[in-house]
């Protein structure tokens, strides 16, 4: 529309065009400011698309031709007959391209040549002949189908090969657990008193036939899929010796399937145990089973026990249901009672190495896989005739196949269910079809979009800054052209016309700026993507290929234009509000006209504020709790300023609002909603603006600062002037300051929060470089390992015995569970005197009475009841930081009793999470411990290589050694990547801020030439002039940095307090980084303002005095 209007008002367009051309520098600046907005939107879109595409790519590479799958949770096994049945199904055959099968399992792999060890590699069994149609392996431009593989051959994927340093021809030792079918018991308690004849004169053994009445019978049900029955009976009190009892288990037909006659009770406290076991393929006969208890026993001998009927449960839902039932009936099942399944070992030859091509190829983050012949796999796992993974390919290729999933998936389900008919095998009955590829592709798009939205959000601060810049420039342009505009108005141009004139001018900037901005954004996205790829570890995230989708660009372009035109319009309105008379006389604008309009505006805002606040009180709505009082404050300020001066009203109101918002940071919990995600950042911005308004309007206070500064000799003649000017031009200063503070707020905020997640490797590693874990217990490496010279590169090492227990019940602090993040787990480390003496793990808190960290460590190492804990143990159940302090007591439940330890120190590190006790204490409590070996290297840079050498040398100890630095960084990889991206993004905002300070300074120098002339006339030297402007600029920058940083610290503390604390991460401020950012801001803004400042100082005073704009 504006363009059509423009045609009608050619004159304006011409005037606007002339202005754009006349002010080339400003025009460029405005265009740059506008471009930033568009560029941010564009790059966010493109980077989002690229990210989505990367996940898509990875999904496709993992699945290759597979579109749907059929398997059970935990990869439970079932007979391979299912595959044949499905493949023979005519309906399915016509709907799909192929159906195939695999075995998928995990194994530990050691390369015999290099000695390197990987504890978990995905093992894929495949039948090379049948699998031909599922694609060929690829490696370095070569492809092969695996039919050449012998029974003892394996194909490693390149990641495993890299980890093991393996090459073709190597022998690898594969060690794996045998698959166990998942069983869960239905438990039935039994109690009773056996009726036995008592002979006069004491207890006399009786014969079986003397037992009065029927044998004691207990009946119970055995369902369809039960595979095992366990019976457990305990006599209470224990019957005297020589008195025996018989127990028998009868199936529904009355056949005795298990019995325990006489004899067992030789040792009276041994319970009667009966069990009957069927093979998994052949379930127990369903129906009413009987437990028969007979025999000679003491009178009134009570018994108790239970009958467990074990079912194979393949459906996760069913498993959970039964577990919940057990939990209710028996208070949980002691899973520790389940023993480790048996293991098998096999030696294989590395026949090939592959980098993909055949599905399944689970190479998504960190997945290591190897391929074996199906028969080899089945033999190794003792699962002949069984498989655990079915794959289905739709018509179409790798990518377009998934488009058919909507069609094929229901058919697959239906045919799968049809196949189950007549089957009794519980695993077959539980089989599920999955539309994995389609699901993951949709996820990829969703992630991409989320990422784009996230980037836009982060970039929005820069966009806001860019828009503030535009408003600022427009206002300055208007001031500069005041006289000209006032003349125009004097000769009859209406205010609306002026608005139009300005808007046209703005559009002239907007169109090319949005256009260039879009392309600039494209470049930026490319930089982002490339940077991301360079920074990220290819083993944790696949490289992103640069991806361009026109939709995104068109969107960015439109948003760019829209934003610009809107801003320009607002700027134009402000600019057009000038007062003719004062403009012509070049005076300052008189205070605002208190017209009806502004009265209505004030009333509306106040009313909205009141309603919003009331609404907030009534509904507890997070949004209104923030917006209501904010609107109320604005309304209040607008009303009050009619009666009291702005200089009193504004600082007071802004201070009040600021205080309120700070309170909400801590008092109101952020709901985890999209709405809150938007309102939360807005609150930070409003808080910043409050401080800005406060500073700008607290003239008395600020001028006092100026006065104080003038006591410094070199500043004496300049301080007051430099401080006063920014106060004089409140709108301009406010805008600049706001922009600068907001940008710094975000930069600082992300730095602080980034730093929280950026582990300080130094602190985390405690001065060690390599960590190695082993399931064995040993005190020293002396005499172990093949080559003792490996230790030549080691300055020292410490062995810490440790006991790991999954579940939260091992340790409490002050009888309370501590904060949990992820699955609960407790590790108890034992420290010897050497570790106490030499470790470098700093304590964040230490019990009074220990002068140094070292003293605390020494005390714990030689004490039976003191402990040092990693950071997490200082939190409470809700993760509240500092809930527990040194001096509190920690309870350790072991060996059936509770031992108490006093905490003397809380460590800063959270990489080695656990409780540190004296070594003998740990050995005393836990006879079987694992070992953690920490190595301090002579050359820390050599950590990766040393880890490999150590691992290889001590393979007999089963050491898995890793560089601590790498591990710590890996744990935080995704955060690191995202924060790196954010930095790139935010630096854009800084550019805007710097541009704007440059403009403001240039403008200020021009406006004040006459004053510069006067100052030179009364004796100001050139350097005084420079100092004045520099000080003025630095005041704004310093204020901006201070405000931004202060609010950032507040907000990040609140974020940490509310959300991050639970992650057991201590709050710390990366001062060095913040100072660096501040330093950069200083240097760059100074550089960008030097040219106008020097120009100002160089102008001969006469010229300056004569200057008329």
């Amino acid at each position: 529309m504006p363009l059509l209007l423009g045609l009608r008002r050619r004159i304006f367009v011409r005037m606007a065009a002339r202005n754009v051309l006349r002010r080339k520098r400003q025009s460029l600046m405005i265009a740059a400011g506008l471009m930033v907005g568009t560029a941010i939107v564009a790059s966010a879109e493109v980077a989002g698309d690229s990210m989505g595409y990367a996940i898509r790519r990875a999904t496709l590479d993992a699945f290759e031709l597979i579109d749907e799958t059929v398997f059970l949770d935990g990869y439970a096994y079932y007979p391979e007959s299912v595959e044949a049945k499905l493949a023979d199904d005519a309906v399915l055959r016509s709907a799909t391209d192929a159906i195939g099968s695999n075995i998928i399992w995990d194994a530990a792999v050691t390369d015999s040549r290099t000695g390197l060890y990987e504890p978990s590699v995905r093992l894929v069994g495949f039948d090379p002949e049948k699998d031909k149609i599922w694609g060929d392996f690829r490696h370095g431009g070569r492809s092969f189908d695996g039919t050449a593989l012998g029974p003892n051959d394996a194909v490693l994927n390149d990641k495993v090969a890299q980890k093991l340093d393996a090459r073709v021809g190597d022998t690898i030792v594969v060690n794996t657990t045998l698959p166990q079918d998942p069983l869960i018991p239905t438990v039935q308690n039994i109690t009773g008193v056996l009726n036995v004849t008592v002979q006069p004169g004491g207890v006399i053994p009786t014969l079986l036939q003397d037992v009065v009445g029927d044998p004691y019978l207990i009946r119970f049900q055995v369902g369809e899929s039960a595979v095992r029955v366990n019976v457990f009976v305990l006599w209470q009190p224990a019957p005297p010796a020589r008195q025996d009892l018989d127990a028998e288990l009868l199936d529904p037909t009355g056949r005795v399937v298990a019995s325990n006659r006489n004899g067992t009770l030789n040792a009276p406290d041994i319970p009667v145990l009966l069990f009957h076991n069927q093979s998994i393929a052949k379930p127990l006969q369903p129906g009413t089973w009987t437990l028969r208890i007979t025999g000679e026993a003491a009178a009134r001998t009570a018994f108790e026990g239970n009958i467990g009927t074990f079912y194979a449960v393949y459906s996760l839902a069913e498993l959970e249901k039964r577990a919940a039932l057990l939990e209710r009936q028996f208070g949980g099942v002691d899973t520790s009672a389940f023993t480790e399944p048996p293991r098998r070992t096999i030696e294989l030859r590395v026949a090939e190495i592959t980098s993909g091509g055949k599905g399944p190829n689970f190479q998504l983050p960190n997945q290591l896989s190897m391929y074996l012949r199906m028969d080899t796999t089945q033999k190794l796992l003792e699962r002949e005739g069984q498989i655990n993974f079915l794959k289905v390919s739709n018509p179409g290729g790798k990518e377009d196949g998934a488009d058919r999933t909507d069609e094929v998936y229901p058919i697959l389900w239906e045919r799968l269910n049809a196949t189950k008919e007549g089957e009794t095998h519980p695993a077959i009955l539980a089989l599920r079809a999955n539309n994995d590829k389609q699901y993951w592709l949709a996820e990829a798009d969703r992630y991409g979009e989320l990422f784009g939205v996230f980037l836009t959000f982060v970039g929005s601060f820069s966009i806001i800054a860019g828009l503030l810049l535009i408003v600022n420039i427009f206002t300055m342009l208007a001031e500069e052209r005041k006289v000209e505009l006032a003349m125009a108005r004097a000769v009859g141009l209406k205010r609306n016309h002026l608005v139009q004139l300005f808007t046209f001018e703005g559009i002239m900037y907007a169109l090319p700026a949005a256009f260039i901005g879009t392309f600039f954004g494209l470049g930026l996205a490319w930089v982002l993507v490339t940077g991301f790829n360079r920074l990220s570890d290819p083993s944790t995230f696949p490289p992103i290929s640069f991806r361009l989708e026109t939709d995104g660009l068109v969107f960015a372009f439109s948003v760019g234009i829209l934003l610009t035109v809107a801003t320009v319009y607002l700027g134009a309105r402000r600019a057009s509000r000038l007062n003719i008379v004062s403009a012509i006389r070049s005076l300052d604008d008189p205070p605002h006209l208190r017209g009806l309009r502004s009265l209505v505006g004030t009333a509306l805002i106040t009313a909205a504020g009141v309603v919003g606040t009331l609404f907030a009180l009534a509904t507890n709505s997070f949004t209104w709790q923030l917006l209501g009082p904010t609107a109320l404050a604005i309304g209040l300020a607008l009303i009050l300023r009619r009666f009291i001066s702005k200089n009193t009203t504004y600082p007071l109101v802004s201070l009040g609002l600021f205080a309120y918002l700070v309170a909400t940071l801590f008092a109101i919990e952020d709901p985890q909603t999209r709405e809150a995600d938007v309102i939360g950042p807005i609150r930070s911005v409003v808080m910043t603006l409050c401080v800005v308004v406060f500073v700008v309007y607290s003239e008395r206070f600020t001028r006092l600062l100026g006065r104080l500064a003038s006591y410094l000799r070199p500043l004496r003649p300049v301080a007051l002037v430099a401080i006063s000017y920014p106060l004089h031009k409140k709108f301009r200063t406010g805008m600049t300051l706001a922009m600068f503070s907001v940008i710094l707020l975000v930069v600082m905020l992300f730095s602080i929060i980034g730093a929280l997640f950026f582990p300080d490797v130094e602190k985390e590693s405690g001065g060690y470089h390599v960590e190695a874990v082993s399931g064995l217990s040993f005190a020293t490496l002396e005499g172990r390992g093949g080559d003792p010279r490996v230790l030549d590169g080691v300055e020292r090492y410490d062995v810490l015995p440790n006991f790991v227990r999954f579940g939260a019940d091992l340790v409490t602090v002050e009888n309370e569970t501590t904060g949990q993040f992820g699955p609960p787990q407790n590790t108890i480390f034992g420290m010897g005197p050497d570790f106490a003496e030499h470790n470098g793990f700093t304590l964040v808190r230490r019990l009074a009475g220990y002068a140094t960290d070292r003293d605390a460590y020494r005390a714990v190492a030689s004490s039976a009841d003191l402990a040092i804990v990693s950071y997490e143990y200082s939190t409470d159940r809700d993760g509240r930081d500092g809930a527990h302090v040194p001096g509190d007591y920690l309870q350790l439940r072991a060996k059936g009793s509770v031992k108490e330890f006093q905490i003397v120190g809380v460590m800063e590190q959270y990489h080695f999470r656990g409780v540190f006790l004296a070594e003998p204490v740990v050995h005393g409590l836990f006879p079987n411990t694992d070992s953690l070996v920490l190595f301090r290297l002579k050359d820390p840079a050599d950590d990766e290589a040393m880890a490999k050498r150590i691992e290889a040398n001590y393979k007999d100890l089963g050491l898995d050694a890793n560089s601590i630095r790498t591990r710590v960084l890996e744990e935080n990889e995704s955060f690191r990547q995202i924060f790196t991206l954010i930095r790139v993004f935010l630096s854009l905002g800084l550019i805007v801020g710097i541009l704007s300070l440059g403009i403001v300074t240039a403008r200020s120098v021009i406006e004040r030439r006459q004053e510069i002339g006067m100052m030179r006339a009364v004796g100001y030297l050139r350097r005084h002039i420079r100092r004045t402007f520099l000080l003025e600029m630095l005041t704004v920058v310093t204020l901006g940095i201070l405000i931004g940083t202060a609010v950032a610290i507040l907000v990040s503390y609140a974020i940490w307090y509310g959300q991050v604390r639970e992650l057991r991460i201590p709050f710390s401020i990366p001062w060095a980084e913040l100072l660096t950012i501040a330093g950069i801001a200083y240097v760059v803004t100074t550089l960008s303002t030097l040219s106008p400042i020097f120009r100002a100082a160089r102008t001969p005073p006469a010229d300056a005095l004569r200057y008329i704009e």
Binding site: P717, L720, S724, Q1010, G1019, L1021, P1101
Partner: protein
């Protein structure tokens, strides 16, 4: 420095001063060989049509502007042989300036404006404040010390500017159309003030003006045209203090 000027001595001596504004193609001969002596203690008026070079003359003689040719001696010292800093300091010590548009800093109060020349020449804050208050009292503005220029009338603003020009006790005042923005009553007050300062402080004053009223209060009158001095005439041959 007050009264330091030699009676009947020459304070400023201009010899064949020329000033050419070089605007590329266009060269403006704003001063075209001007020679002039300003005598100690006199009030010298400079008049002439707009654009004849009055302001240029004042700027060149006071060292605010560079000259193209000739020589300017102030109290025997050649202004244009000095470095910029040296000249600025020299100017700050011995001269005061009054402008048509007052040129007060709008962000500072009256007394702060008057303090500036003292602060820049190294006086302590307290001394500067005292002297500034004294100067403002002398121009009759002791009741307006903390007003911002916006809050002062035109005449009061010019008095503030005058206070600023005398706060350093210079014995030479340059005034470029000091009454140009003022009505005739206020003009009269300002001229009276200048005269009083001239008399009491034995100040030498060079006043560029368009107003005959102002000019006739002075001792001598220089008339300019097209960058040259047309005539120099004495308005009153004898002034009381010269006798």
């Amino acid at each position: 420095m007050a009264g330091a000027a030699d009676v009947n001595g020459v304070v400023v001596e201009a010899k064949d001063v020329a000033k050419v504004y070089d605007q590329g193609k266009l060269k403006v001969n704003a001063l075209d060989g001007v020679s002039l002596e300003v005598r100690a203690g006199e009030m010298l008026a400079v008049m002439g049509p707009s654009g004849c070079g009055k302001t240029t003359l004042l700027n060149c003689l006071s060292g605010l502007d560079e000259i193209t040719r000739g020589e300017v001696l102030v109290r025997g010292r050649n202004l244009h042989h000095m470095k910029d800093d040296e000249r600025t300091t020299f100017r700050a010590r011995s001269m005061g300036f009054i402008f048509q548009s007052f040129n007060l800093l709008p962000v500072l109060s009256a007394v702060e404006n008057v303090e500036l020349p003292l602060l820049v020449s190294g006086h302590s804050i307290r001394a500067a404040r005292k002297a500034a208050e004294a100067a403002l009292t002398e121009v009759g503005l002791n009741h307006r010390l903390n007003h911002k220029p916006k809050e002062l009338s035109g005449g009061e603003q010019q008095r503030t500017a005058i206070a600023r020009s005398i706060v350093n006790n210079p014995d030479l005042i340059w005034a470029d159309e000091p009454t140009g923005n003022l009505d005739s009553n206020t003009s009269k007050e300002i001229v009276d003030l200048l005269k009083r300062l001239n008399k009491e402080r034995h100040q030498t004053q060079v006043i560029v003006t368009h107003s005959e009223e102002v000019a006739k209060e002075c001792d001598r009158l220089v008339r300019m045209r097209n960058g040259r001095i047309e005539s120099v005439q004495a308005i009153r041959l004898l002034r009381g203090r010269h006798v």
